[in-house]
């Protein structure tokens, strides 16, 4: 069973990594083996010990059989982006990826592996320690049901990690109790499996290791949740009642969560009937068509999709823009078309969404950085869409949508009232003299709309695309078309005052460097700031939260000699958008572009900044 080991952890390396509450654990599993929930339990246990933690799934576009990884970063400093680089401890459960996983252990780190199968000579590195546990053999002996033999392997290694990393066993027990509430029969066998691992580790290794966790009180009231759950819940709070959708990774769970919260929270108490309607449509064209029809008819409505779905929705986005129909679209961005990289993250739909569709169109975009903002923006987007009578696109991404993130708890202000925008009631229609659907009475580019069925004689109009006059009548007169297009532009300027303002952090003295970033790149910024400071460089930062751009963005760019626009796509799409929309000197905008499908790291950012500065210096010297 267990082979003689060349290097055991107990040999106590002098070179062993030393770390308390600051290291990375990488789990290597096979897709479809049930590892997700135990890996998640591991991350949550750290959280419940009061230590900040982040977790990333790296998974293939496949249901069963391919390698998946789960990377947990434990960071007392609250550095919660993907750290990148090798991990202090790798739990290697997938023979397929074993060589790669061994290579991924940091020098001085640890490899926990299933020693039921012997390693080959070439799989031994002499700079790391091997924690060999015959996990399969243990499960083979303990369980009869083949499914249990597979599933409990995952629980056994979590139990072992508890001993090795100093995780409080009671915390794990309470997590199991929470996870299986209502399925109480499962609690005891799960705790038993945890104990099997825990005891094995205690008996065979010196526990804890030189890397370990210690209880802290650093989490406060933060929560750990994924962005899609937050978006789905935000839509419930924002009052969405009609949803059309078509499944696509990584957006599917937005709708699944919306549906499950609705099933709990949106049932009419008196009749038991549903206060919502959810249609799995035939495709994304229909999904957005449903949302548009419902919004036109005065219900709050949304759809969620990812890149390929955005492509299919573009004709309708143009219609909604021109016909001025409120619409909420949640775009969980991924890498490109077809399969393969689509289960990886990117921010590569920025330009597509900003200008989606034919004719002169532009759309309101919101860029949440974490699940708390996903919740906030998702609820807010319904107000914005109603106020502006136009599509509002929430630009999430796979990292944000599908990974758990530690963030502020969700909040809802009871005083906050839905902003339904300029919608005329029957009474108002009776009072208004010369109603025109597209008349800019208030001078902000936003006109008054009416909902079908409101008034027996007044306010009805025929909704169509581009060609209409102020009274919604058909027109092909150039002057009327131009007037309408200019008003739409005015409305877009109004939008820039209503959308969330950028978050600007500037030191007392002006830093020469300004970083501009948005969305999930935010997670790497604090750490980058720290690392650049270690290099003697002070930076100011601006986080873009929305498009159209707020008027604080140009001055920020003007104030700094060197601007870095950080984004997760190849073509510098946000940089292009800034250049296109603002009157600024494009030469000032350096691009930092991460597009390998993995969440951006501070190491990457810092390296790019330093390289660019070095190059600039060189060219000044020569």
């Amino acid at each position: 069973m267990s082979q003689p080991l060349k290097h055991d952890a107990n040999e106590q390396y002098s070179k062993n990594c030393q770390a308390i509450n600051n290291f990375v654990v990488r789990f290597a599993n096979t897709n479809g083996t049930g590892s997700a929930s135990s890996n998640n339990m591991f991350a949550k246990a750290i959280l419940r010990m009061g230590i900040p933690v982040s977790a990333k799934n790296i998974f293939p576009s496949n249901i069963q059989g391919l390698p998946t990884w789960y990377e947990v970063r434990i960071s007392e400093n609250n550095f919660l982006a993907r750290r990148g680089g090798a991990s202090e401890i790798v739990v290697a459960m997938n023979p397929q990826s074993l060589d790669e996983d061994i290579a991924n252990v940091a020098s001085g780190g640890f490899l926990l592996y299933d020693s039921s199968r012997a390693l080959t000579d070439s799989q031994f590195r002499d700079d790391i320690s091997y924690l060999s546990i015959p996990i399969s053999a243990i499960c083979q002996k303990e369980y009869q049901d083949p499914r249990h033999r597979q599933l409990f392997k995952n629980v056994v290694y979590v139990g072992a990690l508890a001993a090795l990393l100093n995780i409080e066993f009671d915390v794990l027990k309470s997590l199991v109790a929470d996870q299986f509430r209502g399925k109480d029969k499962l609690i005891t066998p799960n705790i038993y499996a945890l104990e099997l691992g825990y005891q094995y580790a205690n008996q065979h290794f010196t526990c804890p290791l030189s890397i370990k966790v210690e209880r802290r009180d650093l989490v406060n009231n933060r929560i750990m949740v994924d962005g899609n759950t937050a978006c789905g819940l935000g839509a419930v709070y924002g009052g969405a009642t009609v949803v059309g959708w078509y499944p696509i990774t990584p957006s599917t769970s937005v709708i699944e969560k919306f549906a499950s919260y609705c099933a709990r929270l949106r049932i009419d108490p008196a009749s038991g009937k549903r206060n919502y309607a959810l249609v799995q449509a035939e495709d994304e064209l229909a999904a957005i068509g449903i949302a548009i029809g419902a919004s036109w008819n005065g219900a709050r409505s949304f759809t969620a999709t990812s890149g390929p779905g955005i492509s299919l929705m573009t004709e309708f986005l143009g219609l909604a823009y021109f016909a001025e129909i409120p619409l909420v679209l949640i775009n969980v961005q991924r890498a490109g078309p077809s399969t393969g990289m689509p289960t990886r993250t990117q921010q590569s739909d920025v330009l597509t969404c900003a200008y989606a569709s034919h004719g002169d169109t532009k759309h309101v975009l919101l860029f949440p950085k974490d699940p708390a903002e996903c919740f906030e923006f998702s609820a807010l987007s319904f107000d914005l869409a109603d106020q502006l009578q136009t599509p509002v696109i929430i630009m999430s991404d796979l990292d944000l949508g599908m990974n758990d993130h530690l963030c502020n708890e969700f909040t809802w202000d009871e005083q906050q009232k839905y902003q339904l925008g300029k919608v005329l009631s029957k009474k108002q229609l009776d009072e208004v003299k010369d109603y025109g659907r597209y008349k800019d009475t208030d001078g902000d580019g936003i006109c008054y709309r009416t909902i079908p069925g409101t008034h027996p004689d007044k306010g009805a109009f025929f909704t169509r695309g581009t060609s209409r006059n102020e009274y919604a009548g058909y027109t092909e007169k150039s002057a009327e078309y131009v007037a309408n297009m200019d008003r739409l532009n005015k409305k877009f300027s109004t939008a820039s005052t209503l959308v969330p303002q950028p978050e600007i952090i500037e030191g007392k003295s002006m830093a020469p460097i300004g970083l501009i970033y948005f969305g999930t790149s935010s997670h790497a910024i604090d750490e980058s700031r720290q690392q650049l400071k270690d290099h003697g460089l002070a930076i100011d930062t601006l986080r873009i939260k929305a498009f159209p751009f707020n008027n604080q963005i140009s001055p920020f760019i003007e104030r700094h000699t060197n601007i870095f626009v950080i984004e997760q796509n190849r073509d510098g799409q946000m940089r292009t958008l800034l250049m296109n929309e603002l009157t600024i000197d494009p030469a000032k905008l350096n691009a930092i572009l991460n597009y390998d499908g993995l969440p951006i790291t501070s190491t990457f950012i810092v390296e790019k900044v330093l390289n660019t500065l070095a190059l600039q210096q060189k060219s000044q010297v020569s």
Partner: protein
């Protein structure tokens, strides 16, 4: 282009139960070609809505893109309308209907709009059993883009420039029957006597109602080689049954010999009286209706009339168990779970 009609009307025009006259149901002046079948459909819709005493503002007029899809502009001025995008009217109507189950949804589409670009949306809105009336003005061509063959064009038919339809035609009634529509009929824009009662019954029907209306395009498909010309249709039309629509509360006056007459009670209590011209004709067997349609087609005949009616089928909101209050009338109090619930949800993420 559209022109508004003069609001003046004769004070002695007959009025309906709502005190409205026929002209209250009209729309803008049509800009379609003189003689276009679509205009006859428009006037049949106006008459049907007037006779049914439908409050015009309780109707939503939905359409895609095409000459036929322009038609909603020419009826029911007091109703909101939505000229959506080509082939996508069914999804927009789905959303609208989900948002407010109380309005009457009158949808106009073309054969290009529904049988080609929008075939997928057509199929799925039938499956969904949306409570609406879906009308297709079937002229065998794309009128608005100047006469290309539509997928409903009979195989072998030639359009005006002599291009022949080489492939199997799509029969939208057959598709609707196969996909479970609860009201399926075919009619001819030139036969108001048949069309008006069908539209009235279809509006009263609670569920997905489909009427395919042969509607000749005088400009691009009215030549001798066409199977959608007025002459051809007049010569080849055959009617399975003549239908009367008897509104709720009204006495049945039309006499009808026993055995060849069938009364079907609609959901709202009104009656559909069917005078069978063909003795073995029945309206409760979708499979037989498909066979009938195809058999007549093989003989070169266009079968019209009510093909199928299931007055008790469930529609979308019944299937979904949607609350009775239209979703667009629910308020923040009904919809927002509030901060207390949220703090419980927060706890589930700790």
């Amino acid at each position: 282009m559209s022109f508004q009609k003069s609001k003046f009307h004769h004070p002695r025009l007959p009025v309906n139960d709502l005190g409205l006259n026929y002209r209250d149901y009209e729309g803008a002046l049509s800009t379609l070609c003189a003689g276009c079948g679509h205009d006859s459909i428009t006037s049949a819709i106006v008459q049907a809505c007037f006779e049914l005493s439908l409050p015009p503002h309780q109707v939503a007029k939905m359409s895609g893109i095409g000459c036929s899809s322009k038609a909603p502009n020419y009826f029911l001025n007091k109703a909101h309308g939505f000229n959506t995008v080509h082939g996508r009217m069914p999804s927009v109507t789905t959303g609208a209907n989900l948002a407010n189950r109380e309005l009457t949804y009158l949808a106009m589409s073309g054969d290009g709009d529904s049988a080609s670009i929008g075939l997928g949306q057509f199929a799925h809105v039938v499956r969904r059993q949306l409570n609406m009336l879906y009308m297709v003005a079937n002229n065998g061509v794309y009128g608005l883009t100047k006469g290309q063959l539509a997928a409903t064009a009979d195989r072998g038919m030639k359009n005006k420039v002599g291009e022949q339809s080489l492939f199997t035609d799509i029969d939208l009634c057959v598709m609707a029957l196969q996909l479970g529509a609860t009201f399926v009929a075919r009619s001819f824009s030139g036969d108001k006597k048949q069309l008006v009662p069908l539209i009235k019954a279809a509006i009263s029907h609670q569920g997905f109602a489909f009427i395919d209306i042969i509607s000749p395009c005088v400009t691009f498909n009215n030549h001798p080689d066409s199977t959608r010309s007025y002459d051809y249709v007049h010569q080849h039309i055959t009617t399975a049954a003549v239908t009367d629509f008897v509104p709720v509360k009204q006495e049945i006056t039309s006499d009808c010999a026993a055995g060849i007459c069938e009364d079907i009670c609609l959901h709202d209590g009104s009656l559909m009286r069917i005078h069978k011209l063909q003795p073995d004709y029945e309206t409760k067997n979708a499979m037989k209706a498909i066979v009938d349609i195809e058999t007549h087609k093989k003989k070169g005949e266009i079968l019209t009339g009510l093909f199928y009616l299931d007055a008790n089928g469930e529609h979308y909101h019944e299937i979904n168990n949607t609350t009775d209050t239209p979703l667009n009338k629910l308020t923040q109090d009904d919809l927002c779970p509030g901060s207390r619930v949220l703090s419980g949800i927060n706890d589930s993420f700790r």
